[in-house]
């Protein structure tokens, strides 16, 4: 019955927002993560890279941040500086906690 698949249309994929914790060292190597493996390694590296650079650039601006939180409309990223690296919490916002 495999020939029926010839007529099926590819359905558009829905990107799931990453959820969980991610720990990276100062060189953006991922040390530990609880984020689902459905979320690609590249995405996690991208998050780690942006967060580490934000901390680094802030230090250049005489603002040594120990913690930062980015509020997107559907995701909250909280990052704590950890001896040059960072522990990053990824929390998708649902309708029941969107106000938080």
């Amino acid at each position: 019955m495999g020939f029926l698949s010839l007529f099926s249309k590819p359905s558009p994929g829905v990107q799931v927002l990453p959820s969980g914790t991610l720990t990276v060292d100062r060189n953006n190597h991922i040390l530990a993560t609880t984020v689902s493996s459905a979320c690609s390694q590249e995405v996690l590296q991208e998050i780690g890279d942006q967060v580490l650079t934000l901390f680094r650039e802030a230090r250049k601006a005489q603002l040594s941040l120990s913690e930062l939180t980015i509020h997107f409309s559907s995701l909250k990223i909280t990052a704590r500086e950890l001896r040059g690296g960072a522990i990053i919490f990824l929390a998708p916002k649902h309708s029941f906690n969107a106000a938080s």
């Binding site: 650039e57 603002l63 941040l65 120990s66 980015i70 559907s74």
Partner: protein, 358 residues
């Protein structure tokens, strides 16, 4: 390339949506039209991308139009809103205007009404952010107060600009009291007059209101107009006058900072070459560069993760808590003392920057 404005129409009747999609698509400004049949879906669409105008039906199942509008007013104060309804009800009309809608419109039933409706929508889309209070287009708050005073009316004007709210009491054409953000009297009145845009409502007069303003309204309006002219047109002034106006503006801003309890504010206009301005900090340019970098990084993450728009960023350091947020065409970094609770800072930061460049 000039971007097209986005318009969202909410109505539970899909035939009506199709009709309005076709009609509004013919407007001269060629807006992009989006439609949805539910209020909940409309709110999530508003979150995900910037819309210019929301047209909302009143009677809808699950979440009705008034519920949608009350949420929209809190979450998207800059969005222009229009109510379209077939219900002839003065109660609905006043409740909708109390929620700050720009236009309450009975669904047009004649060709002439339809043309007027289209003109109003085009005007709302085209109205720029140069100022003006909703309900009376192109009129400043000064004009509104002058009209109330000249007509010898007694009323309570409630003015809203983003998360800021001010009230002005007028009795028999005389200005008797004003209040905003914990301040009363003349200073509250001056502060409210600095807001260039927002929404206003006429509420019933409060005859027993204690009088705190004794100066005639015209004198106060004149003083405020002079101060605004000095700020708006420095080129016609001598260098001394320009210096004085700049000095007054700086003093006003530093006073706003200390009133709010904040340590510093850095304001960064959009554009790669824009220069940051700072109050209460000596590291303005460095912080401005970080703001530019942080906004770019957050927007990139938002795109890559499809996480929706960036609401704001909070940071904690040994000396300060900071909140980075955008208001209009500028980004602001507000610094607060380190002992302040970070979770409680986004709202006061929004309030502080709402009137910063008024």
């Amino acid at each position: 390339m000039e971007s097209r404005h986005k318009v969202l129409i909410v109505d539970d009747d899909s035939a009506v949506l199709e009709l309005y999609r076709d009609l509004l698509g013919q407007l001269p400004s060629k807006p992009e039209i989006f439609t949805t049949t539910s209020g909940a879906r409309a709110l999530s669409m508003l979150k995900s991308e910037p819309f210019r105008l929301l047209l909302c039906d009143l009677k809808m199942p699950k979440m009705d139009g008034l519920q949608v509008l009350s949420i929209v007013r809190r979450r998207f104060p800059e969005l222009r809103t229009v109510v379209m309804t077939a219900v002839h009800s003065e109660d609905f009309r006043s409740r909708a205007y109390a929620l700050g809608v720009d236009l309450f419109w009975l669904k047009p039933d004649t060709q002439q009404n339809m043309e007027m409706f289209m003109q109003c929508i085009e005007s709302l889309l085209g109205r720029d952010d140069e100022g003006g209070f909703r309900g009376v287009q192109s009129k400043s708050l000064m004009d509104l107060i002058q009209m109330e005073c000249l007509s010898q009316s007694s009323t309570l004007l409630r003015i809203t600009r983003g998360s800021l709210t001010g009230r002005i009491w007028i009795s028999s054409g005389e200005l008797i009291d004003a209040e905003t953000d914990g301040v009363r009297g003349e200073s509250a009145f001056r502060r409210i007059l600095e807001w260039k845009s927002g929404t206003f409502e006429n509420l019933p007069a409060e005859p027993g209101r204690e009088r705190t303003i004794t100066k005639p309204a015209n004198a106060l309006l004149l003083e405020a107009a002079q101060a605004m002219d000095e700020i708006a047109a420095p080129s016609t002034q001598s260098s001394d006058e320009v210096e004085q106006a700049d000095h007054r503006k700086t003093v006003w801003r530093l006073a706003s900072l200390s009133r709010a309890g904040a340590d510093f504010v850095v304001s960064l206009p959009s554009g790669p070459e824009a220069t940051a301005e700072g109050w209460g900090t000596e590291a303005t340019q460095e912080l401005g560069s970080w703001m530019r970098y942080a906004l770019g990084a957050c927007n990139k993450l938002a795109r890559d993760l499809q996480a929706g728009s960036v609401a704001h960023l909070e940071g904690r350091s040994l000396d300060h808590q900071v909140v980075l947020l955008a208001e209009g065409e500028r980004a602001y970094l507000v610094g607060w003392p380190s002992e302040t609770k970070l979770a409680q800072l986004s709202e006061p930061s929004k309030q502080l920057v709402a009137s910063w460049d008024s």
